[in-house]
């Protein structure tokens, strides 16, 4: 498909909006110069999210490109990269032309890029999932994280598998999103603001015990602060 260097798309930032952009590319017979969520001074076209068009693209992707491709597209959508929409569009255009083998063509620039984006999202989800900490506040396990990418939708299920009988709440204060597990039900919601409540004596004791363990387990003659910090980004490891 031809690249149009003159026109950008503007969409509402939703997943269906992005898939509508893909649909529009096929109508326009070009790939736009950029895809933005805010108004721009450059020549642009506003794309109105259309569930029916989005569903047609989703069906086409599932049928022609397979589930590995679907996962890559969903992960890429959650990313914070400026070129993620274009990467998704290029990947789908390529994939609809060549079919299921597209995911194996890792050396193709359009496949390599979305694979890179998708892996970066997966990596951060994994990092956040490993490093976050809970505080037990009024009977609920509470955590606040600041991920770069919008990874909260990817991590809730892990904690259900681990704590089926606890209630938990993880808040992403960058993307203003919260994942809640209460009475056995997992849900995701946009939440403008969240401040954890006060901690009680037992929570205080557990933090103290953890600090004792953490400080003591270090082998002092092996001190290597740089290595430690490299593995402990404060975005997830804050308490």
């Amino acid at each position: 498909m031809r690249e149009n260097k003159d026109i950008s798309y503007i969409y509402d930032g939703t997943y269906n909006g992005l898939l509508t952009c893909v649909f529009t590319c096929y109508e326009d017979k070009f790939i736009p110069a950029g895809v933005l969520t805010d108004a721009t001074l450059l020549p642009s076209k506003r794309i109105y999210t259309d569930k029916v068009k989005a569903a047609r693209v989703a069906r086409g992707v599932a049928r022609t490109m397979g589930s590995a491709a679907e996962n890559m597209i969903r992960n890429a959508y959650l990313s914070d990269f400026k070129d993620k929409e274009l990467a998704v569009i290029r990947f789908i255009v390529r994939g609809m032309a060549v079919g299921i083998s597209v995911c194996r063509d890792l050396a193709h620039p359009d496949v390599a890029r979305i694979s890179e984006i998708s892996r970066a999202v997966g990596r951060e989800a994994r990092m956040c999932l490993e490093r976050l900490k809970f505080s037990l506040i009024s009977g609920v396990l509470v955590s606040v994280v600041q991920p770069t990418h919008n990874i909260l939708p990817l991590i809730g299920r892990h904690f259900v598998g681990r704590f089926p009988n606890e209630d938990f709440f993880i808040y992403d204060n960058v993307h203003k999103l919260g994942v809640t597990y209460a009475k056995g039900k997992l849900s995701l919601a946009e939440i403008d603001d969240f401040t954890p409540g006060d901690i009680d004596d037992e929570e205080e004791l557990c933090r103290r015990l953890w600090k004792i363990f953490y400080d003591t387990v270090e082998i002092k003659p092996r001190r290597n602060e740089k290595l430690m910090k490299q593995h402990m980004p404060r975005r997830y490891a804050n308490m």
């Binding site: 194996r104 063509d105 490993e130 396990l141 955590s143 557990c206 015990l209 363990f213 270090e218 092996r222």
Partner: protein, 414 residues
Amino acid sequence: MTLEEKLKILTDGAKYDAACTSSGVSRISGKDGMGSASMGGICHAFSGDGRCISLLKILLSNACCYDCAYCVNRVSNDVPRATFTPEEIAYLTINLYKRYYIEGLFLSSGVLGSPDNTTQMMIKALELLRNKYKFYGYIHAKAIPGTSPHLLEVLGRLADRLSSNIELPSSRGLKLLAPDKEKRDVLAPMGYIRDRHLHGGASEGFVRAGQSTQMIIGATPESDFQVISLTQRLYDKYKLKRVFYSAYIPVADNSLLPALDSKPPLLREHRLYQADWLMRFYGFKAEEILDESRPYFNEFLDPKCNWAVNHPEVFPVDVNRASYELLLRVPGIGVKSAKRIVVARKQRKLDLSSLKRLGVVVKRAKYFIDGAAGVKLRAADDPAAVTVELIRGENARQLSLFDDTDVGALPIRG
């Protein structure tokens, strides 16, 4: 004694054990409790020495009746002693686990009177966790050398992983520094676990995540070749999941041991882990990495690069045709990128820029592959010059790895 004081003492005595992995088993929590395990393991934090913290690594007791010269818990050492009750261990594990500080429990212990007595106490603590508190998280327990098989069996059904430490890379070293331990006592639990696994033990819930061991490096004078040969034998003969190395940290003033002010041999430990990786994932045999005539690692070059520059006849490798096994021999190509190459080359011919997209470290690989456009220097023609280039790159990497360690002070061998 408060719980805080006990925790400090019993963490202090446990921290020299290098094993902290929580890998090898996958499950989700039962409906009646809490806890899951993930195949690759999870690191929850990193301590100030840059080591991963996955499990709550504690001793049940540091009141050890043995007198191993290299060990901080030896009976002749003047340190405060403490012993946890099973309830205390359960309280710590459950509460730190719930807050997601830890992936589970690593329970070791000094020898309380006898190996069987110690193991029985460990079993009590683990039974409380598993049966009363319905804990489904990861448990790694120490198989104390000399424990009776029937107790190992019980312990192994409560734990996901067992380890019995070989401690020193030679039986001579063991005899010298650990007079209360016999080599056969160390190997007996290993053999028991292996034999149980050969007969369906894992599917019966016995040590599902397999077993590991560790040895202390630098307390005794074994060569690197001896250490990796032993490692190879342990993998082959005992089917271990992991062999860990622990750079000796002086904890005793003893004429048989390095002086108290000597630095831990961190670079050597790092090279051993690199070699261990090559044996587990890259298809290398110990004799390929080192041999009798060259028993020490090259200090300046990682073992894989070192092997490559010593085998110019293998190169250049054609990435578009070479087998997966041969790709793994190319410096700069790892397990992931080799797998990607094998998939991607069926779709199109690969060149340097596509290799970069596949995650290959082209900076290193370019000397060893066919058709690297614009690269004049080739390992096949001038291995010495390639060595110089690789060392230049390695120095930059290593300085960041050993940032706070004086690399110059490490023992030089080669």
